[in-house]
Amino acid sequence: MTTISNRTRGGLKRNVALAVIAAVMVLNMYFAFMFAPTEATSGHVQRIMYIHVPMAWLAFLAFFIVFIGSIMYLWKRQEKWDDLASSAAELGIIFTTLVLITGPIWAKPTWGIWWTWDPRLTSTLVLWLIYVGYLMLRAYSANRSQGMKFSAVLGIVGFIDVPIVYFAVDWWRTQHQRLVLGGPSLESDLHPDMRLALMVSVIAFTLLFAFLLRQRTSLKRVERGVREMKEDAEIRSEG
């Protein structure tokens, strides 16, 4: 009897969270489309910034969580840390992919070309490659625990590498000024109304991220529980 009410309670919490996030997203849409002023030169397409920039920051946050989760897993060897790290990696890759998709969609009408090799976009591409490697490593490992161990190693090395990659790409880019105008606009020279809308976007997507991370992590935990139950059942049926 307790199981059923637990499940309903969990479901209720989840639905409330979902409702809050939906409301914040609608608010975000208001700020992005109605409140924020239109950019003079590029027009409405510049509003892509309200997805593109928050997701870049959240991808970075996700990979930071992978870093912490990986360290904790290697230290404590508790699988809950691997649940966290691998869930964050999944979400990080989704966010990174969206950054890489919205970037060109923004760039083409604004600067005329799909890809601008601007530092943020290029570092994001390298980041994407590193963390896709993370998932591949887990998939190709000989067994589950090896996958967790190896991907934790990559999760640590990868994140430490990120600032170095960013600097290298940034210097490289300033050296080879292909475009007179750099890529997507710097946050520093934004109209204050735009900056406000951007902050709302960041809050909205952060809530979404936190929700998805929690869902994914608990899903992994349940998967693990089911697996262990099955193994138990097998052992008992043999004994």
């Binding site: 390298v126 090896q146 161990k149 990559l154 640590i156 590498d161 600097f167 290298a168 210097w171």
Partner: protein
């Protein structure tokens, strides 16, 4: 002093074992060398390198050749260990995991430097530049250190997973991209004579920072990787 002997001597022994093996078989260096030369030829056709474009393209071709040949050499590093089970035997010895790591890293560094030293004069002829600038040599040494530091760790990882020939490059290249960028920029300044906004020294510093960070981080993670 005893600590040094306990740490340094096993590392040197491990490195010497790999070098000795290579001296007998001559598999790694020879194949990587041929591969490097072949890459230059292919690039020449692919990019249509002319005397006008050589200064711009040569550094890039050089470092693609160095890094791909290096990965080829790297992928051999732990395969023999895994297949013959010699790594397990090595782990049974009362030797610190760090020693094993640094031994393997040293051997890998030596192999790659030998390959690069052999390829460099060949490239100097193909692309008509002077091979003996200090900046260029410095870039090669620092970059190869970085390759060896990260490569040893991930060669050990890749040796244990499926599709290892594919996994090593996939894991390795994105991680060492700063090194490649820095090496190409520095070589460009050394070969072509510059016009670079960022001085070669700054790039060398970047590579040095990379090296310093990963020479510290990778050995620790190596012991995690090889322990059961």
């Amino acid at each position: 002093m005893r600590a040094v002997a306990e740490f340094v001597r096993p590392a040197l022994l491990v490195a010497w074992k790999d070098v000795l093996l290579e001296l007998r078989n001559r598999e790694v260096v020879a194949t990587a060398l041929v591969f490097g030369v072949m890459l230059v030829v292919i690039f020449n056709f692919a990019l249509n390198i002319t005397p006008e474009t050589v200064d711009v393209l040569a550094p890039g071709v050089l470092w693609v050749a160095f890094s791909f040949a290096g990965v080829l050499a790297m992928s051999r590093a732990f395969v023999a260990e895994k297949e013959e089970g010699t790594l397990d035997a090595l782990l049974l010895c009362p030797v610190s995991r760090d020693s094993i790591y640094f031994g393997k890293m040293l051997a890998m560094f030596v192999f790659m430097v030998v390959i690069e030293a052999a390829l460099l004069p060949i490239f100097a002829v193909f692309f008509d530049f002077s091979a003996f600038s200090a900046t260029l040599i410095g870039a090669i040494v620092l970059a190869t250190l970085g390759f060896a530091a990260v490569g040893t760790l991930f060669a050990a990882v890749a040796a244990n997973v499926r599709s290892r020939e594919m996994m090593l490059p996939i894991l390795f290249f994105p991680l060492v991209s700063p090194v490649i960028i820095g090496a190409v920029e520095t070589s460009g300044a050394a070969i072509g004579g510059g016009g670079s906004l960022t001085s070669p020294l700054r790039w060398l510093q970047l590579i040095a920072v990379f090296d310093a960070v990963f020479i510290v981080v990778c050995p620790w993670l190596f012991s995690v990787v090889v322990e059961e």
